[in-house]
């Protein structure tokens, strides 16, 4: 059985506003962007053909926005654990290209937390950085985490 990672389960009760989540790094290569094109089914040539991307005005091939969204989800999932859910993605604003040769670092911070009728809810500020600064966001993920005592 492959060693699938099951992150430790965090509970809503233990969240602290201002708490930072562990950052994740994503080094970008053309190889990886080709895999991402296949995985996301976004075969637009700008994402895997450097010359085509340059003709369209980009420095070189760059990551597609679905792949960039997946970076946020992977980073957040490590924090919220398998019992957590994602309700919404907001302000996922793409500010600059994330290209071949970039290392994209995704970071997050707990902005707020509250009780819903059936869940513990948190708002996490998320953003991506590359060597030139913030490239995506800052935006938000609205997530739920389990409550201690078993309610969800």
């Amino acid at each position: 059985m492959p060693a699938h990672y099951e992150p430790a389960q965090r509970h809503w009760d233990d969240l602290a506003i201002g708490e930072h989540i562990a950052a994740e790094e994503f080094p970008l290569s053309l190889y990886r962007l080709c895999m991402a094109a296949s995985a996301t089914r976004d075969f637009n040539s700008i994402h895997h053909n450097p010359d085509f991307a340059r003709a369209a005005g980009a420095p070189t091939a760059y990551a597609n926005n679905t792949f960039l969204q997946g970076m946020w989800e992977k980073t957040a999932r490590s924090f919220i654990g398998p019992a957590g859910t994602i309700r919404a993605l907001r302000k996922f604003t793409m500010r600059s290209f994330n290209t071949v040769d970039d290392v994209v670092t995704v970071r997050g911070e707990v902005l707020d937390k509250w009780h819903d009728t059936d869940a513990g809810v948190a708002l996490i500020r998320m953003w991506s950085e590359n060597g030139r600064g913030v490239s995506v966001g800052p935006g938000e993920l609205e997530v739920t985490l389990p409550l201690r005592g078993g309610a969800r």
Binding site: H4, R41, T66
Partner: protein, 219 residues
């Protein structure tokens, strides 16, 4: 990239060379349509049902190893009927095929940069809009009602025009257009609502206020 003007669209030269006042007015038909269903998508089903192999493939370039996306027993322990797809994969699973039986050949030209004649990630045509040669996504917002699980099949249902704001940016003259669509499952139940803002533009216009170029894919 050879520009392909939309039917009844203002010729490219007019958009590029028109005065400031007149080029913005060329977007008036789109602005008047704000709030309406554009219905530019045929409502095709996503190319594939949600399956464990597709989820695995989606996770692979991210090195995303959460067991929810691989292990049915872990997914079941957390209340899901089967392995779940990451929430952000929903767009990928909603994309129609580039080709399928019954569709005319799409790979008709050889060459490194040759494009298929049909693409589910091409720019969405806007009725009445002036012709443009470039587009890119600038912002995405999604509400997820539930994650997809193995066995689901989804499609985009409808396309509502939320806003259209003409703007002259560093990359050219065009408009920021926000579109909203619902993604529904095989039971016609909404599983997600997505809004995407795209900048449709003609890159040969004069330089304008600084705006970053961003991802040139439409969802």
């Amino acid at each position: 990239m050879t520009p392909q003007p939309e039917p009844n669209a203002t010729p490219l030269t007019d958009l590029a060379l028109a005065s400031t006042e007149s080029w913005e007015k060329q977007w008036d038909p789109v602005i008047r349509a704000v709030g309406s269903q554009i219905s530019t998508l045929p409502g095709e089903w996503g190319a594939e049902k949600v399956e464990a192999t597709g989820i695995r493939r989606w996770c692979e370039p991210l090195e995303f190893s959460c067991a929810l996306h691989y292990d049915p027993s872990v997914a079941s322990a957390h209340g899901y009927a089967d392995v779940t797809a990451p929430y952000t994969a929903i767009t990928s699973f909603s994309l129609p095929p580039t080709w399928s039986p019954g569709i005319d050949p799409v790979f008709t030209t050889a060459g490194r940069d040759a494009q298929p004649t049909r693409s589910p990630v091409a720019a969405l045509p806007l009725p009445g809009a002036p012709a443009t040669t470039g587009f890119f996504a600038t912002e995405v917002e999604s509400t997820y009602l539930r994650p997809l699980v193995v066995g689901d099949q989804v499609k985009r249902s409808g396309m509502r025009l939320i806003s259209c704001v003409p703007k002259h940016t560093r990359v050219g003259r065009g408009a920021f257009v926000t579109l909203e669509t619902e993604i529904v499952d095989q039971n016609d139940t909404t599983v997600a609502i997505t809004r995407v803002t795209l900048f449709y533009h003609h890159p040969n216009a004069e330089s304008g206020p600084t705006e970053e170029k961003t991802d040139a894919s439409a969802l």
